[in-house]
């Protein structure tokens, strides 16, 4: 209690552990309890079992359950309960052996192959593929024929057959983290490879291995029981498979003999699978929030009903957002508001810029205009009107897909931030430009094709035909953004919404794309909403600016006014953080040392 805790960051950090989450999952808890009971019963078979597994009461074969033998006796007069317990011992131990062998072979080789790659990777992968191509049952039968009916031997061989699964899993996971920056940072710190693997890589591999093991153990039990059921096991030792075999042979005399081992096998395998699922769910960590259903009584506002007319005197605005609020329902029933009371408008041929930092709600606002909010999002309040009709009428809680469907692509189009991830790698650029035009404008393919080539030339692509035929990975980021701009203007929209259109681009390419956007905007006279965090981009393009902070509009005005004479302290802070025109090597913030809130 000697250290003062800074305000706003005090308190105990509540963090649920993976184990905690598994236990809280009813299925996970059931599976664990079941496995513990089965495991304990098998482990303490010597204590729990009333008879030895091979003690046989010749005078009392195939006895019905009850009395001296709780679950009856089998065809050899042996106590079924005792054999079930002893059988569990062998069955579970053999499954454990199988999984251990598979892990012991697959995990280290996978780690080495994934981490170092090179010749070991190629060789090990070749072996893994070879083992995978072997018919498992055939191999097991041959081993049994050659080396005798040993459960252990069979399970070791089966473990080897299963090891490629672990090898591949480990290798893939390791490859995915091998080049993570934190592994690089550990290398720079001088950690040995062994330490890096133990500390940074194993933690990632652990969980998938546990999940895989729960499934492999189930498979091992099934295979082992299967072999014994076929009569290939060691008859001197009870296993669930041997009991199953005995039950099957006497199915007409005492069908119950079949039930007990089946139950045991089913329960164990089901618990293992459920445990695997629970571990996976716990690791995914995401609390699933289902959208709240409307109470049955509350009537859904009918979409077909005539829309209310927009407020008189505002019809001339191309787009008007009034008191818009967007929220996400939380697990506890509350709604987390990310956009709150946002109002602005844009007229034809105007460029409006929405500026803010991450988390300011600027993209959420843009997405509500486009109707691209995630399904869980709710319009909590306010309205959006486009060209004199509502797309979100007052009282609506979602964006009407029906109303926007008619506008999107035709009258409102979108330029995204990441050009590369917004082009489908499986189709040529040409087909991605042509398709929307044939659908939206209803023109023929040939016509659309000619138009697409024209557009590509217009957006400054030097060889339109080549780009038209190219796949997205064959062009640079700047080119891809030009293609998307061409796509955005292809259907002659009235409003283009550009979400950080130059953020992912190099600065020289950014300048070119800004030039292009400006030229296009002038030529076509479209309204443009440009969402950005860069005041340079704002100064370059915008007529008016809306500054957002934490979901609210803090300032709005003409671009020159806002950039030269910001009134709101937040806008002032933002502009003060710009490095252009600052004295180098000087403090940018008034109170930098007070950090912690960065």
């Amino acid at each position: 209690m000697t250290e003062p805790t800074p305000a706003g960051q005090s308190g105990v950090v509540v963090r649920s552990t993976v184990f905690g989450r598994i236990v809280r999952n009813p299925l996970g808890l059931t599976a664990i309890v079941a496995l513990v009971i089965i495991g304990a019963a098998a482990a303490f078979a010597q204590v729990l079992a009333p008879y030895d597994q091979n003690f046989s009461d010749i005078t009392n074969t195939l006895a019905a359950p009850g009395g001296e033998y709780i679950l009856g006796t089998d065809s050899g007069g042996r106590d079924v309960l005792s054999r079930l317990l002893y059988g569990g011992q062998l069955t579970l131990a053999s499954a454990l052996l199988c999984a251990s062998v598979a892990i012991l072979i697959g995990l280290p080789t996978g780690l080495i192959a994934g981490y170092y790659g090179g010749w070991f990777d190629s060789t090990a992968s070749w072996f893994a593929n070879m083992i995978l191509s072997l018919p498992g049952i055939m191999v097991l039968l041959s081993v049994r024929a050659a080396l005798g009916p040993s459960v252990w031997l069979a399970m070791i061989v089966f473990g080897i057959l299963l090891s490629p699964g672990y090898f591949r899993l480990t290798r893939t996971v390791v490859q995915s983290v091998r080049n993570e920056l934190y592994v690089d940072a550990a290398r720079v710190s001088g950690l040995s490879d062994l330490r890096i693997i133990a500390r940074h890589i194993m933690s990632v591999v652990r969980a998938p291995i546990i999940i895989q093991t729960s499934i492999v153990a189930g498979v091992a039990i099934a295979i082992q029981s299967g072999l014994d059921f076929l009569g290939l096991g060691d008859p001197a030792q009870a296993t669930w498979g041997i009991m199953l075999s005995d039950g099957f042979r006497n199915v007409y005399l005492n069908p119950l003999l079949l039930v007990w081992p089946t139950l045991a096998i089913m329960l164990t395998i089901a618990s293992l699978v459920l445990l695997g699922n629970a571990v996976r769910d716990a690791l995914e960590d995401g609390q699933k929030i289902t959208a709240k259903r409307r109470p049955a009584g509350e009537k859904k506002p009918s979409r077909s009903a005539a829309l209310p007319a927009v407020e008189a005197g505002t019809e001339q605005h191309l787009l008007k957002v009034s008191h818009l609020a967007v929220g996400y329902p939380q697990a506890d029933g509350s709604i987390k508001t990310v956009v709150d009371d946002v109002s602005f408008h844009i007229d034809r041929g105007e460029v409006l810029s929405i500026v803010g930092e991450s988390g300011s709600g600027k993209s959420q606002t843009a997405f509500s205009i486009l109707g691209l909010l995630p399904d869980t999002a709710r319009i909590v309040g306010g309205s959006i009107q486009f060209d004199g009709t509502y797309t979100v009428a007052p009282g609506d809680d979602t964006v009407s897909a029906e109303r926007l469907g008619a506008l999107r692509g035709r009258r409102i189009s979108y330029i995204p931030q990441e050009p590369m991830s917004n082009l489908d790698p499986a189709f040529t650029i040409g087909s991605q430009l042509v398709r929307p035009m044939t659908v939206v404008l209803g023109i023929s393919k040939a016509e659309a094709r000619a138009r697409a080539l024209e557009l590509l030339a217009k957006v400054g692509i030097p060889n339109p035909q080549r780009t038209f035929d190219a796949y997205p990975h064959e062009v640079s980021g700047g080119m891809a953004q030009r293609v998307l701009i061409a796509g955005a203007i292809s259907c002659e929209p009235d409003l283009v919404i550009a979400d950080e259109p130059t953020t992912a681009l190099d600065v020289t390419v950014q300048a070119e794309v800004l030039d292009l956007l400006r030229t296009m905007q002038r030529q076509l006279g479209v309204g443009v909403i440009i969402v950005t965090h860069n005041f340079g981009v704002v100064a370059d393009l915008a007529d008016r600016v809306v500054v957002m902070q934490s979901g609210r509009v803090v300032e709005e005005g003409e671009v020159l006014d806002i950039l030269r004479h910001p009134k709101h302290p937040y806008t002032q802070t933002l502009l003060a953080s710009m490095l252009e025109d600052k004295q180098p090597m000087t403090k940018l913030t008034v109170d930098a040392a007070a950090g912690g809130t960065a």
Partner: protein, 309 residues
């Protein structure tokens, strides 16, 4: 003005093996030479794919150096072994671009900070005290020790990364785009922190960034990289305000300024510069073209003069 260089790179070549059998290796750096002075910052600016990050990684031993030499404090570290690297990690550290992937999501901040200390054999007790000091240094609360990286914002994570780099009091920190993933106001605070640390500890920085404004703000000297080569190098003020090389000139004028009137001017200047450079290129290209085009001119009956026209 010329202090002793703490780190020098001479004609460094980095080549990545090509994909496939007997494929040509990819040459990321074509003989790059730089020097970083004690207590100073060398800004390294360039676009994506220019090789600026590769140069930083070469110094850290994370990129395959196939030619040239890197010396630290007079000692050749071009192909330092793991053992030498471990010793070097006391002197050379790194802050990466992405604060989201540069911290192991499974480790608590305390464990992350303890790692470099443990490698150097610092006793746990001393390490604890040092970690407390480091958190103070970068302006994080003390209870951060038991928190996971994901419980912090981007700026705070970058502070953790800076604290990790500072743990062993290095003499050089390679900063690979450490502020480009951050918001404007956060970037300002983190830059302040970098400056403050340099003033207090006299550490040198190799500051890699694509943003000329950031580099101008924090660097004493600036090197401009373009396609795996350094095209211009010199005092920050000169390189970032009145550059000589055409590429740097383009780079400078491409970065928009936050004032509509000045931006319009800059835009006009940029377009004028581009037109001028295109003309120069065309003239130079005509001469070069006349010389170069001749040997691989497959078409018959076309004279060199025709091609130029």
């Amino acid at each position: 003005m010329n202090g002793t260089p703490i780190l020098t790179a001479t004609d460094v070549v980095v080549e990545y093996p090509g994909k496939g059998f007997r494929a040509k290796p990819f040459r990321a750096l074509h003989g790059v030479s730089i020097a970083i002075e004690q207590g100073k910052t060398l800004g390294l600016v360039g676009e994506s794919g220019s090789g600026k990050t590769t140069l930083g990684r070469a110094m850290l031993g994370l990129a395959p150096v196939t030619g040239g030499a890197i010396t630290f404090d007079g000692q050749d570290i071009t192909h330092a072994s793991r053992r030498q690297r471990r010793a070097l990690s006391r002197d050379i550290q790194v802050v990466f671009q992405d604060p989201y992937t540069s911290l192991n999501p499974a480790l608590e901040v305390g464990e992350i900070l303890a790692e470099p200390l443990a490698v150097q054999g610092v006793a746990p007790r001393e390490a604890k005290a040092r970690i407390r000091e480091l958190l103070d240094r970068v302006g994080l609360p003390q209870d951060a020790v038991h928190r996971l990286p994901r419980e912090f914002s981007g700026g705070q994570r970058q502070r953790v990364a800076i604290a990790r780099a500072l743990a062993l009091s290095p003499r050089l920190i390679v900063c690979d785009e450490p502020v480009s993933a951050l918001d404007l106001t956060t970037q300002a605070r983190v830059l302040d922190l970098f400056l403050e640390i340099q003033q207090d500890t006299g550490v040198s920085y190799l500051f890699v960034s694509h943003d000329l404004d950031v580099v101008r703000h924090i660097s004493h000297d600036v090197a401009v990289m373009y396609r795996g080569e350094i095209v211009e190098q010199g005092p920050a003020e000169h390189v970032t305000r009145t550059p000589d090389h055409p590429y740097t000139q383009r780079l400078l004028l491409a970065s928009p300024v936050p004032d509509p009137v000045r931006q319009e001017e800059r835009r006009a200047n940029r377009l004028r510069l581009l037109a001028e450079q295109r003309e120069q290129d065309a003239q130079a290209g005509a001469i070069v073209g006349a010389v170069v085009a001749a040997p691989d001119d497959g078409a018959e009956g076309i004279s060199v003069g025709d091609r130029v026209r």
